[in-house]
Symmetry: C2
Subunit: 104 residues, 2 copies
């Protein structure tokens, strides 16, 4: 009986940390943009209307969590999604909160 969930708590911690990484309106907006293709920080700021500091912090969090990664192009930093589960979660969210035939 105590064995029913053996090992689960550890995985639950990981999974919860991953979900927390996505669970913010700002970060979802960022991921929504990145889902359409990689973007540099200035572009993300322009598209989302977020403050630069806030953007940096959210990008850092997503990067720490392994959801996105960066590449340096000349003077700008280009971010892109790298976590497969993140893409799948975004798909689920899109289907449920944005309808199925929306252009966005």
């Amino acid at each position: 009986m105590t064995a029913v969930f053996d090992g689960l708590p550890a995985r639950a911690d990981q999974a919860a940390a991953f979900l927390k990484g996505l669970a913010s309106p700002h970060r979802l907006l960022i991921l929504c943009a990145l889902a359409q293709g990689e973007r540099n920080v200035s572009t993300l700021i322009a598209e989302t209307g977020m403050a630069p500091t806030s953007m940096s912090q959210h990008l850092a969090k997503l990067k720490d969590e392994g959801v996105i990664d960066v590449r340096r192009d000349h003077r700008t930093l280009t971010y892109f999604i790298v976590h497969p589960a993140a893409v799948q979660v975004m798909d689920v969210l899109h289907a449920h909160f944005c309808g199925s035939l929306q252009a966005d």
Copy 2:
């Protein structure tokens, strides 16, 4: 350019609130159990080892968010998952954090 994300912020808020509802190790443990079938509170407490107060609070949160619902059976309350997106997210998490051929 300001129109690129028209209407998105509102949906991002909803989606983020939904994700926040799931984003806790305790609540994932609860949902893991409920994914295998409905359960009453005592059973959930026994299976997860959580304190009763904590269990109630997490169940309340999941219910507020529309993820689960309750039914009263004689003297006990039986909870079950009702949100389709929650099931899908759990599937994604399971595939990525628990491997694909685990009994759990």
